[in-house]
Every structure is written in structure tokens, then in C-alpha cells.
Subunit: 150 residues, 3 copies
């Protein structure tokens, strides 16, 4: 439990999947922009000149992508923090790598079933819930490991 | 000012309170879900089948929890970053631990007086303002410490 | 590619600009509060007593600041993560420092042209796009560097 070492396979896994999740989250901004362009629906007056569009705040397709994006913001930064701190609690390497991998797959599926190809529930519930449980697990590990610091 | 050492009491305090804040923020998602279920108010058509609910975007109870959650997203990731960098500026251990502790208590109270048991102002203002001032303090410390990197 | 060393100029640059970006993001909360006060437009019933204001969710000035703030939340935490991981991939010091500097200038300009003094497009598009491309670049660097951890 010394400093972070980026030659540790679990830390490398954390770096890889955290990077993938960052790119995935940035992709939601691109998806919002694309949906706005296709539907000519913008949030700012100055944007409407680009494509003869109009200002509208309740387009269902745009808002669906925005909800998926906000859900990323509610979850993925917490993963970056918890995943990093979890590594300092001395987890089994294979456990840590599996958690990071399943978390990332879950969040990618969540974006797909929420914003790209909406599916009936419980598709979104499961793809939200499993990564969420992984974060709770890592959070409880971190807090109990450092509980003497209360 | 070498690398992070997780056997330093201030770093352990940072890890503990950051983990607590992550779990608290995740709790807001649970609270939103619970409020949606109780009031049968959902944001997506595919969710309404679960409980014979309906799509509604302006339920006051759901929106209040969502505002409290968004306020967490506006504040807590900034704490994770600033708290971590502040530790590299060589603060007094007891000062750092006190700041992390007060920050966390403030943010927990903020969630309570905003989303769980709404109280008259200035309850929310104070529980928002003190953590906010702590972040400003840490931010100024970090920026001035590394100012030669401008 | 050992642990983070805060005596490395690129790491110091990361710490400085990350701190600046955190303070800038916190400034958006202050700007929202100020706009709410000036226009007496609040999101919560308990806030309206402060200034004889009223509850309103679609004031164009307040919503513009809030969109700029949300755009920060969509971008800046991803920079904190990607910038930090990018440093572990062994970049040229001057390249890293230049990316951090341009990113920060871009995001500050973005806030100005979005929320403080709205300008015609493509002012906001450019000040959003260049930092966004920098994040994509760093993200691809991180993911490809750690690709063996897949």
C-alpha cells in the first residue's frame, strides 16, 4: 500500500478502463450534437443560424441522450475516484481487474440501451445496476479500510 | 512533496472522506429512484410499465432530489481533485483533516436539508457555503503553490 | 512511468491548470447565484423569501449560465482524469504543458462567450471544440498505451 505504481497490472487496468469510460462519456456530447443537428433543435438562439434550426428544450430524442449523458456524470467520476482509492486497499489483482472490466462493459451497454437503441426494461435497469453495485462495493471497501481516519 | 503516500494520516483522511462523499452522492440516485417509484413519475416511457406510472418532468419532489444531486455533481468531483492536489502542497496534517471532515459533514447536511427534510433558509445556504469556501481555500492554495507552472 | 512525482514540471503544470479549472467551475455556481439574485428567480420555494423573488425554471439568463455550468461538468472532470493518466504515458514535457495550457484557456473562453458575454457562433463552438479535441487526443493516448490491459 505504498504509492500508485503504474507497472501494476491492476493499476494499468484501472488506467485503461478509466480512459475508455472518459472517451465514452465524451462520445455522449457528440451524440447530443448529432441529434440536435439532425432534428434542428438547439438550446441557444445563436446556434439556430447554423442549420435554420430553432430553440426547443423538450425534443424527446435530444432529451433522452441528455439524460443518458447526465447519468454518466452521476456515475463515472465516482468510479474514477472509487476505483483509484480501491486499488490502495490491497485488493486481489484479478478481482480488481474483473470489477473494472464488468463496470465498463455495463456502462457502455447502458449508453446503448438508453440513448442509441432504446430497449424495454429491465435492459437499462440491469446495465445501470451492476456497475452501481460495483461502485457500492468499492466504496464500502474504501471507507472501511480507512475507517480509522474518521 | 514527493508522491502520494497512503500511510500518511492526511492522505488516509482524504481517502476516507472522499469515499464517504462518493457513497453519499450515489445515495442521491437511490433517493431519486425511490421518489419516482413512490410518486409513479418517470422520465422514460419504458419505465412507466413497471408500476403503472406515467412520464412527468416537473414533479416537485423528484425535481428537488435531482437538484440536490446536481449540486453534488457541481461540488464533490471538484473536492476530489482539489483535496488531492491540496495534499501535495504540504499542509499541516490537522488542518487538512479538519477541512476534509468539515467539508464532508457540510455536504451530508446539505443533502438532508435540501432533499430529505427541506428546511427554511439559511440552512441550505450555510451547508452549501462552508464546503464551498473550503474548496475555494484549497483551490487558491493549489494554484498559488504551483503558480510557477503558469 | 513510475509513480506521480510532483517535482516534475509537467505534473506541476497539470496541478496548476487543474486547480484553475476547478476554481473556474466553482465560479459558475457563483455566477448562477448572482444571476438568480439580480433577476429574483429561484428554483426553490424557501429561497424566494430572501429577495421577494419567485420560483421560475425557464429564465433565459439563468438557464444560459446553468447550461455553461453543465458543460463544464461534462468536460472538466474528464480532463482531470485524462490529464493525470496522460502524464503516466511518458509524454514530452513541453507537449503536455502546452496541451494543459491551451485546454484551460479554451475552457475559460468557453465560459465567457457562453455565459458572460454571449457571442455569435462559431465562438462557442471553437472554444468548446479545441479543448474537446485535446481530451480525445489524451484519451486515445491513454487507452492505446494501456491497451495490453484490455
Amino acid at each position: 500500500m505504498a504509492a500508485f505504481r503504474f507497472d501494476d497490472p491492476a493499476v494499468q487496468s484501472y488506467a485503461f478502463y478509466s480512459g475508455v469510460l472518459a472517451l465514452k462519456t465524451l462520445g455522449m456530447a457528440t451524440l447530443t450534437a448529432r441529434t440536435r443537428y439532425v432534428k434542428k433543435v438547439f438550446a441557444n438562439e445563436e446556434d439556430t443560424k447554423i442549420k435554420n434550426g430553432f430553440v426547443k428544450f423538450d425534443d424527446p430524442d435530444v432529451e433522452r441522450v441528455r439524460r443518458a449523458h447526465l447519468n454518466d456524470l452521476e456515475n463515472i467520476p465516482a468510479f474514477w475516484l472509487l476505483g483509484g482509492l480501491y486499488l490502495t486497499t490491497g485488493p486481489e489483482t484479478t478481482t480488481a481487474i474483473t470489477l473494472f472490466r464488468v463496470y465498463t462493459i455495463g456502462r457502455i451497454l447502458h449508453s446503448i440501451v438508453y440513448a442509441i437503441k432504446p430497449l424495454p426494461q429491465p435492459a437499462r435497469g440491469i446495465s445501470f445496476g451492476i456497475p452501481f453495485l460495483i461502485m457500492l462495493y468499492m466504496g464500502v471497501k474504501v471507507v472501511s479500510f480507512y475507517a480509522s481516519a474518521l
